[in-house]
């Protein structure tokens, strides 16, 4: 078990393994994304109250829910960095922060566009919206902290610590709609019944989109981490060999 854990920490091993997995992940994402978007745009029935804005849900909900995965991921990577000083964990944490900031920003923007016709306002200082905005600033804070500290080891430790602290915001975002009486609606409960307002014809495409956007998060994280690995390991023989063996572009 431990041997496996430490092997996972080897950047070279991760680089090779992720290289083999990437094409399959991209195929799965493309298929799910195509099905999900076609279903959401063409086949989901108009909502009796919201009309066609229901289609915004198929982008907003997946992006917003996956943005919540970012801080826990960075916090776990941070603990691994602090305890075992595993280089790969810090590379993943470093790459996750900008991706998480993108996810949070897109969740906020699509939420605002959806809120305008439904609530009559682009923005409200509601608990869910405000806690998401805090998550965005925390992610910007993590990115800024890393670029402000000269020593990579000190930057890794500081960011690890901030990620662990920042992860506290995640349950606040998640339960904000239950703890406070917010403008933002609480999570809807799925129903198998055909006649339910949230029946399978509504939630099946949503589940497909959530899976597709999850895959997208994983793929973009793997892509950035692979580049980060090459940059940090550029002096090791395997990277020198890899660059030398690359035939795709001239020097």
């Amino acid at each position: 078990m431990w041997q496996w854990f430490f092997r996972l920490g080897s950047p070279k091993w991760f680089y090779e393994l992720s290289g083999r997995w990437l094409p399959w992940l991209v195929v799965a994402m493309t298929v799910l994304l195509t099905i999900g978007i076609v279903w959401a745009l063409l086949f989901v029935p108009q909502d009796y109250q919201q009309g066609d804005t229901i289609r915004i849900m198929y982008v907003h909900v997946p992006v917003a829910s996956i943005s919540l995965a970012c801080f826990p991921l960075m916090a776990v990577a941070g603990v691994i960095t602090l305890v075992w000083k595993m280089k790969l964990a810090d590379m993943v944490a470093k790459c996750a922060a900008p991706i998480g900031a993108w996810f949070t920003a897109v969740a906020l923007a699509t939420g605002a566009i959806w809120g305008q016709p439904i609530w009559g306002t682009w923005w409200a200082w509601d608990a869910r919206l405000t806690s998401m905005l805090i998550q965005f600033f925390l992610l910007i804070g993590v990115i800024a902290l890393r670029s402000a500290i000269e020593s990579p080891d000190a930057a890794a430790r500081a960011c690890a610590l901030l990620s662990v602290v920042g992860a506290i915001n995640v349950p606040i975002i998640k339960y904000s709609v239950e703890w406070w009486n917010t403008l933002h609606q609480p999570a809807s409960s799925f129903s198998m019944a055909e006649d339910s307002p949230f029946g399978p014809e509504i939630w099946v495409p949503l589940v497909i989109m959530i899976c597709a956007v999850y895959l997208f998060f994983v793929i973009s994280l793997i892509l950035s981490t692979r580049t980060e690995i090459l940059i940090r390991e550029r002096r090791s023989q395997w990277v020198v060999d890899l660059v030398a063996a690359d035939k795709t572009q001239g020097a």
């Binding site: 086949f43 915004i56 982008v59 793929i219 892509l223 550029r234 690359d246």
Partner: protein, 79 residues
Amino acid sequence: MFENLAFSSVTEFLQMGKYTFHVWSVYGLFAVFLTVNLYLPRAAHRQFIREQKRRALRAAQSGQPVEADEGRSDANGGE
């Protein structure tokens, strides 16, 4: 399958009821978001390989070892 379509014409589909701007701007933003986050890391990867090749070539010409690559900043490398 097509009897379940939510729209009866292409115009109706493009109009999205009275929410043309709202629906299409969200999907447009989503498309930009996907493209940027898949393109940027790939571009950074390609640039790294290009730079290292150039460096290796320079090193080979001047007889210096490849390891002499001081000066490249790690900042923003992840993007």
